[in-house]
Amino acid sequence: VIDGLMIGVNGLLAAQRSLDVVAHNLANVNTPDYARQRVVLKEAPPVTGFRPGQGAPAYGMGVVIQGIELMTDRFVEASIREQKSHMGSLTATADLATRIDEVLGRTDGGLGDSVSRFWGAWDQLALTPELMATRNGVLEAGQDLAGALREAKNMIDDVVAEADFRLRDQVDEINTLAEQVARLNGEIMSVHGRQGVAGDLITERYRLVNRLSELAGASLQVNDDGSADVLIPGGMLVGGSKASQIEVTTGPPAEIVWSDTGLPSATRGSTGAIRDALDGGFDDLYERYDLLANGIRTAVNALHAAGTDLDGTTGVDFFTGTGAGDLEVNAALTARGVAASASGPSADGNQAVAIGSLRVQAIIADPSDPTTPVATASASISNLVAEIGRRAQSAERRVESATAVGADLEVRRGEISGVSVDEELTDMLRFQRAYEASARVLTSMDQMLDTLINRVGVVGR
């Protein structure tokens, strides 16, 4: 009878604990990345060797809680980390491409219009070369064009500076996350192998490492003692309860190094993508704008220097500068100084005609051969716009398809780890019934004891 009481109590405890876990699961139904837990029940073995040789069959001692299982699939988790790393990299690349597209990919009011207006101003000057108004018009259109090219370069500079700032910010976050994972590792190791529930700590660790994967392309290696090492392509970021720190060198180009040794490290994920972009990822854009500025400057200057201004002066440059970043209209140039005339007379606008005709001449070189002009300014800008647009578009498309893959993985993870309210409610019913049944066992045991203690031996009393 005493055994029966024990068994009943075990049943009560098991049902109670199981209900606790159901409650925990239900409470966390909306917690991001929560993995559901399940009480693993096991029948308690019979107590043997207690009643020797009586031939009574052994019976079990009820139920015991073997542990609480965390419902995760480490392969799915690994796939998710891999996908997060990929996604982090794609998103960072797409962010940069979109930023560039937003500032430089405009089809109206952009550089293309400035160049068009510049040629148009020369065309206008050709009609009335003796008028100060049209001469000033050329100077203003030139300043506008030079400003637009400088602005384009500044915008790339801004995007680069932003990317650099974001890289440093994310590396700080990586270091914080690594510290947290190391601390969690310590806690998990201290309860590992004991009855303690490490499930929530492990979920938390998954969550942190997922973010690390996104930022740095981290992967996870679980050790026998329950701790987990976090690896980034450059080496081990967290080993057991010890975290290493990484930092970004001042550059350029910015490199990722280990803080303690200064040796080079490497990351994937968003920081990897940003670092790669900072290491020459914008060079071709800079070069294209420089080629554009140089092509226009060289062609216009050659014709302008060959022309004659109102005072008979020749050989003066229209533009000064060495690239897109410092293109300026020659500061010494006045309206009278604009060389519109081919032969000298003020009414001769043929040099302006020639400069205006540069609109349809190949004056811009291609990066593949920076010394040979192959395209008109308009075609060159058009190619640039197309290139910028294509990059943004393809980066966004890659993000889109990767997002779909990520959603599929989340569904798979949900199949294994997600909390289903209906399922938990069913479990709740089940454990509630089990509790009631165990309580009934106790009641009947109690009645039996009552019979034994209070009724036995009163015959004839």
């Binding site: 139904v29 040629w119 148009g120 065309d123 003796e130 009414a347 349809v360 308009s378 199949e415």
Partner: protein, 296 residues
């Protein structure tokens, strides 16, 4: 297959976000009137639009040049027509003066009229368009200057060039030296008229005949110039037609790439809104089914 509740809600939410983004995208297109917010929306289209815009600006330049050349040549045409008319009058005066019955007073009158015609021609030779003599090349002041009855050419023979198409340059002014015969040794139209007037006064019939022949040459030159002018102006007209046609077709291409077709956009918007509503409905349904509703 188990489906976690979070996944159900999340996928509903994602679908909602996607449809919302779609609605937002179409709405932005409709309000801005442009299908291209940035090159990323349509790289090929954006590149084409960039070139088309420059092409349109180029055509605008040609049209401006054509307008200018036409006005320039128009002024020249009026001057040359008047010159031709007065020269014909001078020819008939020269013929009249050969009439043997004319007295000295009549010849003097003819001579005076011839001198008047010469002065009129000087004024015509100085005709200007927006302050620039149409016969003077790059000159900016009077080109035919009369000093003590001798007229000299002060202009240049440069052609004022106007680009009227990618391949064609039109001379918008007239070569005064050629029109008025300054390129001949002393036989420019002014000198011929002066000599003619002098001979008419003197009554030297042979000399008058000799000068008349020269006057005829000058008149023919001026009349030939009228033909040249006519063909140039005709050429300008056809260049303008070409430029305008190209402008229309370029603009149509730009519009096809860039402009939002409101009818299509409105239909797309309605479809996107419908998808949005359907998503909302399905999310509402997610919640309506739960075991909780059946447990007492």
């Amino acid at each position: 297959m188990r489906v976690g509740d979070r996944v159900r809600y999340d996928s509903g939410l994602n679908a909602l976000r996607d449809t919302q983004r779609q609605v937002d995208r179409i709405q932005r297109q409709i309000t801005s009137g442009s299908r291209l917010q940035s090159a990323g929306d349509d790289p090929t289209g954006a590149a084409a639009v960039t070139r088309i815009r420059d092409g349109l600006a180029e055509l605008a330049s040609y049209e401006r040049n054509i307008d200018d050349a036409q006005a320039y040549l128009g002024v020249g045409e009026i001057a040359v027509t008047s010159a031709s008319n007065v020269l014909i009058r001078a020819q008939s005066l020269a013929a009249q003066s050969l009439n043997a019955g004319l007295g000295a007073a009549s010849r003097d009158g003819i001579a005076l009229e011839l001198e008047g015609i010469r002065d009129q021609l000087v004024a015509l030779a100085n005709t200007d368009y927006l302050g620039r003599p149409v016969f003077g090349g790059y000159a900016t002041s009077a080109v035919a200057v009369a000093v003590d009855g001798t007229v000299t050419f002060e202009g240049t023979t440069d052609g004022v060039q106007r680009r009227i198409s990618p391949s064609e340059v039109m001379t918008a002014n007239l070569n005064g030296e050629e029109v008025f015969g300054f390129d001949t040794a002393g036989d420019d139209v002014f000198a011929v008229l002066q000599r003619l007037a002098d001979q008419v006064r003197a009554g030297d019939a042979d000399a008058i005949r000799a000068e008349s022949v020269k006057l005829n040459e000058r008149t023919v030159t001026v009349q030939n110039m009228l033909g040249t002018l006519g063909s140039r102006i005709g050429r300008l007209e056809s260049a303008r037609t070409v430029a305008q046609d190209q402008k229309l077709s370029l603009d149509a291409r730009r519009a096809a790439i860039e402009d939002v077709d409101l009818a299509t956009a409105a239909t797309e918007l309605a479809a996107a809104n419908q998808a949005y509503e359907a998503t909302l409905l399905s999310i509402a349904r997610i919640d309506s089914m739960s075991l909780l509703d059946f447990l007492r």
